[in-house]
Subunit: 199 residues, 2 copies
Amino acid sequence: MDSLKNLEQLIVKNRSYRRFYESERISEENLKSWVNLARQSASARNMQTLKYMLLTQESDCDKMFPLLSWAGYLEDWQGAEKGERPSAYIVVLNDNSLSEQYFSDDGIASQSILLGATSSGYGGCIVVAVKHKPLREWLKIPQEYKIIQVIALGKPKEQVVLEALPQNGDYKYWRDSEGVHHVPKRSLDEIILNNVNSR
Amino acid sequence: MDSLKNLEQLIVKNRSYRRFYESERISEENLKSWVNLARQSASARNMQTLKYMLLTQESDCDKMFPLLSWAGYLEDWQGAEKGERPSAYIVVLNDNSLSEQYFSDDGIASQSILLGATSSGYGGCIVVAVKHKPLREWLKIPQEYKIIQVIALGKPKEQVVLEALPQNGDYKYWRDSEGVHHVPKRSLDEIILNNVNSR
């Protein structure tokens, strides 16, 4: 990584993608290389309580897909059709036997994984709305592992653009008639509370 | 960002630094450019509930330092001496008036900020052990803002190395007689639960 500008390009490219070229499969080695980024990232008290399950086979992906809810704001859309679905998943778990408290490790790890996927030419989406019970039963996830979220991954097949929040302040993402996904982002002025230095 | 390899180098370089060249100040523009990375990162339901306060002035940094607890595992060390302390801080808040639930946004944002700092030649440390009451009173943080964590930033003045967990499984970081900070990391085999594909 050479510069802030390169990093910013990567972060902007790393959008939440929900439609993919499903036939472009992702290897387990790819997933491991991205989890390895999470592994080398910061961890609160260095406890490293997060654990991961990797799914790449089409039959497993077919089972995972209906356990996830997609894009709550797109009311007319129930998720990608077959052919445009994710081609791999990473289940992010917390090993409660080590500690139930993982502070912000989940986001740190997920951001590292998704930046890795993006830098490898893929993309993905963090899904929190997961049907825990059937997922736990299917993957035989022991009770001491808390299901935090699932990262869906694939070769992106949609355009996602960032834009300013509209006048009415509506932050909901939306999809236009061309299928472009629009994501309104608050301004820097809105999220930086005040200039402490000029008090 | 060109490749996974470059990203991995950045992620490995982005360690939790706790000693800095305090006289190397960080500009507010620097901090804003890093918060701008967080702004453009993923947010659950795109609600973007996180807010930030920026501190760069030496007098403010002097007030912030005693409100933070440093490196719990280094029992003989109460934090950096004057001259080696952070030269800027970002207070990460959640705007509960938007939503009390921010999922993993805190970690996503903090990772983006710290990768930004690292790519700009700086470094930092996420501090969760913060004296909330005096911080809230001093910075006049309204009650509807939850204090999540503080990111301490500066020009790193210490060497931090990642290494494998020792045989006894002790994950605590430690500092050797040369002042090098050692961080044991679990192996990829330990954190990837099982090969779902080979069940």
